[in-house]
Symmetry: C2
Subunit: 120 residues, 2 copies
DNA sequence: GTGAAATGCAACCGTATGGTTGCTCATGGC
DNA sequence: GCCATGAGCAACCATACGGTTGCATTTCAC
């Protein structure tokens, strides 16, 4: 199998898949999980389950989705599995929104120029 | 250092439903739409459709979802329906991520203090 | 007024998603 | 060694989601 690595630079600090990250954040339960992990540091699945109103299995699935988006990371400790947040990815998401907004600002600027140019 | 104030800021314009907004952004097609609207100003459905690889109907559905999250707004002009981005909502989303990250920073701070307290 | 363009509406379809239950496996405490 | 706890695995289920097609409606342009 061809190990074709993406042409994108490995260390590029951009989200490789913004939609994936936003989709992961786009669920109330998962957003709660992220918030709890941010507020309280590493927590086990069991800990995360009580306090949530769904099954442990559901929590596990959500954590896997968050992990798939690079938003959380797990650490195995004994029979427990602790999860902690990956802040860098969240910051990347934030920056992604920044970029979009600034595009809009640019567009406004261009529009202004164009309008002024037409007034003669 | 964070002064302990009522957990929710009084007049802060917060997202009433962050998950909804993130979910709306959590789809490649929709993210593209938002980006295009940000970069190019108001566009009609027809305009948005060519350039996308799905049907006009699909685009319409996506736009409605974005509108439901408050991310875009439509203006009817003649037989056309122009869509433009609602930057405030995007900024709110960005701020939401900020808040989450800062929680984490606070937690790190507390953790540091606690560890230092234990070293005796 | 006729035709083409820009949308709207509704039904339909396959699949992903969020959730559950039931069972097994590993680990730590006593 | 025993047993409770923490977690994994797999099957299953209802519904939401992304997408399509077909047809009706409004509006502009000539």
């Amino acid at each position: 199998m061809s190990v074709r690595r993406p042409s994108v630079a490995p260390h590029a600090r951009e989200l490789r898949n913004p939609a994936l990250v936003f989709a992961a954040l786009g669920d109330k339960t998962r957003l709660d999980l992220v918030a709890r992990l941010c507020a309280g540091g590493p927590l086990s699945i069991a800990r995360l389950t009580d306090g949530a109103d769904v099954t442990r299995q559901a929590i596990t699935k959500h954590l896997n989705i968050l992990a798939g988006a690079g938003l959380v990371r797990d650490i195995r400790v004994g029979r427990e599995r602790l999860w902690e947040v990956e802040t860098r990815q969240i910051e990347e998401a934030r920056r992604c929104l920044d970029r979009i907004c600034s595009q809009w600002d640019d567009a406004l600027g261009r529009l202004k120029l164009a309008v002024e140019g037409e007034e003669h």
